[in-house]
């Protein structure tokens, strides 16, 4: 329980520090309004943040804090890369692209950079990866690091898995498979949900009622649970070919997710349909095609694009979770969710070989990094389109 005592003591010290900080500020600046009107909570926050930074620096120089150092390096590295990327965007290119980068926060440029890197990895995976994803080598369970003395192999930087496949290659191919499949699924979901949503919004009446009620019911079942239920049935249906199950998974997740897309595009469409310019077009005698494609859709791009980003994250995470649970993307396709599950036990070797323990985290982190990146970009887009008045 001494840990709790220490924590309490530290908190008390910070609380006292906050009061001292404000008092000193008032004295030194001769009661400037900023310090005079500063609530105590703010002063506490400043001192707390200061203490956290100091604690972090102390931890950084501890011998055992390997992972913490990696995290700090990663964070700083990414921040620097994002900053360079943004500066580049602000100086190179046409006026429009430069303006695009001008108002961009660091988080968004980080997101954009990561998305670009993933896109390159996914498209050029066969060129970048040293080996094929199904290629099996002699040495199984080679440890990462490439040092033969430590159980590694210089030919396999990240080592090999239990049947001797190169992990670095599988990680890179994972971008192609995991991201590619998620992307295809999202596109399918958007095609289904979007077309039905806009139809429902434009036509209204019984079609809207039927579609909306159906979607209500489908959305009443939590999506991961529903996906698992349908995957069970699909697995009974699917033949022996493993790609069949992957294909069923794409369809199942796309259908489940299209309900969310339907809701959004119907709402967006309904907001646009009540506009006077739509009424004007209807009264002109325009047909349905013109209404949807020329009048409604051009005004729905911005929210739909943001939704595409969010849905992609959601689909991507669902697929990763299914794969992690063992019912998603099927071997021999390399994919990150499955890799996490297969490599998970390495985490227990953290004390002896930090790099080996990092393997499952690398695969999981690869998933997290992309979703974080997309979310950062979407967050910025949403803020840009709506938050200005705030």
């Amino acid at each position: 329980m001494s840990l709790w005592v220490w924590i309490l003591l530290a908190l008390a010290a910070i609380a006292l520090g906050g009061w001292l900080f404000r008092y000193a500020g008032q004295r030194i600046t001769a009661n400037r309004p900023y310090f005079r009107d500063m609530p105590y909570g703010v002063a506490f926050g400043y001192v707390f943040a200061g203490a956290a930074v100091l604690g972090g620096i102390w931890l950084y120089f501890q011998d055992g804090a390997v992972f913490f150092r990696w995290a700090v390096h990663g964070l700083l590295g990414f921040a620097a890369a994002a900053w360079v990327f943004r500066t580049l965007g602000r100086t190179v290119g046409t006026d429009r692209t430069r303006k695009f980068f001008r108002s961009m926060p660091l988080t968004a440029s980080f997101g954009l950079l990561i998305i670009l890197i993933y896109a390159v990895l996914a498209i050029f995976a066969p060129l970048i990866a040293p080996y094929g994803q199904e290629e099996v080598f002699q040495q199984v369970n080679a440890l990462p690091g490439g040092d033969p003395a430590a159980g590694g192999n210089p030919d396999h930087l990240l080592g090999t898995d239990q049947i001797g496949r190169d992990l670095l290659s599988r990680l890179i191919y994972g971008a192609q498979n995991t991201v590619g499949i998620a992307f295809a699924t999202t596109c399918l979901a958007f095609f289904l949900g979007g077309s039905f949503g806009f139809l429902a919004a434009t036509l209204g009446g019984w079609l809207d009622q039927v579609l909306s009620r159906t979607v209500d019911v489908l959305m009443a079942i939590p999506s991961l649970i529903f996906a698992l239920l349908l995957m069970t049935i699909a697995s009974a249906w699917a033949g022996t070919q493993s790609w069949q199950l992957t294909f069923y998974m794409i369809v199942i997740i796309a259908v489940i997710d299209s309900t969310r897309v339907f809701r959004l595009s119907r709402a967006v469409g309904a907001n646009i349909v009540v506009m006077d310019y739509i009424e004007a077009a209807k009264l002109r005698g325009e047909g349905l095609r013109y209404l949807i494609f020329r009048e409604i859709l051009p005004n729905a791009y911005a929210p739909l694009l943001a939704e595409f980003g969010l849905r992609f994250c959601f689909v991507f995470l669902t697929i990763a979770s299914l794969s992690f649970l063992g019912v998603g993307i099927q071997p021999p396709l390399a994919d990150w969710g499955t890799m996490v599950r297969d490599l998970a036990q390495f985490i227990n070797f953290a004390a002896f070989s930090p790099l080996a323990a990092a393997l499952p985290l690398m695969a999981a982190g690869a998933i997290a990094l992309l979703t974080v990146a997309v979310n950062f970009v979407v967050d910025w887009m949403l803020q840009k389109s709506s938050g200005l008045k705030e």
Partner: protein, 334 residues
């Protein structure tokens, strides 16, 4: 009748209807399977007795409507059937489904696990709700400050990370490098509360990270939206102190959105629980569900699915009803 009561009753009926339709969907999904269902499910290695038992159990010779209603009636009376795996096992060791000492029923399988899951969800909620509400309100009050941005980045990152990523990070730091908590949750029925809490803490923390981020962001948005209303400006222009503005003017109106946020996230917990239980080998209903999915154990899958869906619908319904009750416009009609 008081209009609020009327709306609430309407919503409750609607919720029940949704539940009914969802049960039909779940039933149909399973019964859409072609061919010899029992054989397909159990595969070639199944004993003929097991296949026969399943056929009889499912009443495959009867029309679908009859089957649905008898299935629904069974569900309502708590008879969730016998899992294929258990039936197969039972027939393998020679006890038949009819004999009293027969195989373990789905209900018997699910009950203890359901309790464990509720325990996990409860612990998570107790940690997550106060933390996220505080963080969300603070972020809204000090919006656009460094604190707000920091919390926002943290929240976005943890919302978008897969549950297993957060889980393994926590395992790495709290179980492997600094062994303060167990990385596997061994839960027994006769465990003391303290021990049980210790075993549950790591999965609960993982879920907390996921749910807190979401809840905090939603709380922040709701509060900022509220603070922008003209009546808050009016209160400030009346010279009311900031604390009082929050407590008497913002809070009563924030109740509905906050309740909605909490209920929606508890509903979200239900989905998140599946992956987290698998990571920590936590003996809950999510783990059972995933195992049954892998071996295509339809009765268990159906039952779990129905339980998850019911909890989800009930929580959403609760959010709906509570936010109706806290709306002054509905409580005091014209």
């Amino acid at each position: 009748m008081h209009p609020v009561l009327k709306i609430v009753i309407q919503r409750l009926l609607l919720g029940l209807l949704t539940l009914l339709v969802v049960s039909i969907v779940i039933f149909l999904a399973v019964n859409a399977l072609p061919g010899d269902f029992a054989q397909a499910i159990l595969g070639q290695s199944a004993t003929p007795e097991a296949v026969a038992a399943i056929r009889r159990d499912l009443g495959l010779d009867q029309p679908a409507v009859t089957r649905y209603f008898s299935w629904l009636a069974d569900m309502l009376t708590g008879d969730l059937g016998v899992s294929f795996a258990q039936a197969n096992f039972a027939s393998f060791v020679g006890t038949s489904a009819e004999s009293g000492s027969g195989p373990v029923t789905v209900l018997q399988q699910i009950t203890p696990r359901f309790q464990n899951t509720m325990f996990l969800a409860g612990v998570t909620a107790i940690i997550a709700v106060p933390v996220s509400l505080t963080l969300g309100i603070l972020a809204a009050l000090y919006r656009n400050s460094a604190f707000d941005r920091g919390v926002n980045i943290f929240a976005l990152s943890s919302v978008s990370s897969p549950e297993f990523f957060l889980a393994y990070i926590l395992i790495l730091f709290l179980a492997v490098l600094n062994p303060v908590l167990p990385s596997l949750s061994n839960i027994f029925s006769d465990m003391g509360l303290g021990e049980r809490l210790r075993a549950t803490l790591l999965p609960a923390l993982t879920l907390t990270l996921v749910v807190t981020a979401q809840m905090m962001r939603m709380t922040r948005a709701a509060i900022i939206n509220l603070l922008a209303s003209p009546y808050i400006e009016m209160a400030r222009l009346k010279g009311i102190s900031p604390t009082r503005v929050i407590v008497t003017h913002a809070l009563p109106n924030a109740l509905a959105p906050i309740i909605t946020v909490i209920a929606l996230n508890l509903a979200y917990l239900i989905t998140g629980v599946v992956v987290v239980e698998v990571v920590f080998v936590y003996p809950g209903i999510g783990q059972l569900f995933v195992d049954s999915v892998k071996i295509r154990d339809i009765p268990v899958v159906q039952a779990c699915c129905l339980i998850f869906a019911s909890a989800y619908i009930l929580l959403n319904l609760l959010a709906d009803v509570l936010s109706i009750l806290s709306n002054p416009r509905l409580r005091h009609p014209k």
